[in-house]
């Protein structure tokens, strides 16, 4: 749980977000190449949404460090970012393990 005092510290830690966002976006075209178009585009859409939330969270965190946004807003944005990332990672893990299951199937 984030406490308002450590929010700037936490937000700088979340600053590594773009890497994860990019990695997710990088992963989705590979996934969509193997899947039917509609599911692939759904994944791409989800990854893009995640990346947008991450970017918004970072922007709010940086504005908070500069003192333009209240601590509550920063914490809210950072927590939303964290949660989006968590669920995106959990869904990605599920999808990847599903593909692994498929690739292990004997032909």
């Amino acid at each position: 749980m984030l406490d308002p005092i450590s929010a700037p510290v936490r937000s700088t830690a979340i600053g590594t977000g773009p890497d994860t966002g990019l990695a997710l976006r990088g992963a989705s075209p590979a996934a969509s190449a193997e899947t039917p178009v509609d599911f692939g585009s759904f994944l791409a859409q989800m990854a893009a949404d995640t990346a947008n939330t991450l970017r918004a969270g970072e922007a709010t965190a940086i504005a908070g460090i500069n003192g333009q946004v209240s601590t509550q807003k920063v914490v809210e944005a950072v927590m939303a970012t964290e949660q989006t990332l968590q669920s995106a990672i959990a869904i990605r893990d599920k999808v990847v393990s599903a593909f692994l299951e498929l690739s292990r199937m004997s032909i």
């Binding site: 749980m1 968590q86 669920s87 959990a90 869904i91």
Partner: protein
């Protein structure tokens, strides 16, 4: 339909915002408890009070709280006999602010408790969301 847990987070956040503005006003009152006028007979600082109101957030279909207004309190000023003071009138009385320090401190504690309560709600909603996401991870 909006996720109820996300809605709870947003409502809690509005509570935090409202209570921090309340604390800001209390601080202003406490800091200005001795602020008098400059000219003879002039009015001193007037105690401010915060009023809250509920506001329907259309997007979430939920009632969030917001600060309706910050008004000047209507109680009378205290009179203090201090003939040498720049703000003293012809009888030597200075108008002192109508700030009651005990009331302000009580208000401050109430703001603090409300803030804590809202934080607890946010913590709880977040925990429930995290637990649900974790189920996808482990289950």
């Amino acid at each position: 339909m909006q996720d109820p847990l996300q809605t709870a987070l947003r409502i809690g956040a509005s509570g935090l915002e409202a209570q921090s503005r309340r604390l800001r006003v209390v601080t202003e009152n406490l800091a200005n408890a001795q602020s008098t006028g400059k000219t003879p007979g002039s009015d001193p600082y007037t105690r401010k009070v915060v009023t809250f109101e509920n506001e329907l957030d259309e997007a979430m279909d939920a009632n969030v709280v917001k600060v309706a207004s910050i008004e000047r309190h209507r109680s009378p000023y205290r009179l203090e006999h201090n003939p040498g003071h720049p703000a003293a009138d012809q009888n030597g009385y200075v108008k002192m602010p109508n700030v009651d320090i005990m009331a302000e401190v009580a208000d401050m504690h109430e703001a603090n408790r409300s803030y804590e309560a809202n934080l607890q709600v946010i913590k709880q909603a977040r925990e429930m969301i995290s637990m649900t996401i974790d189920m996808m991870r482990n289950g």
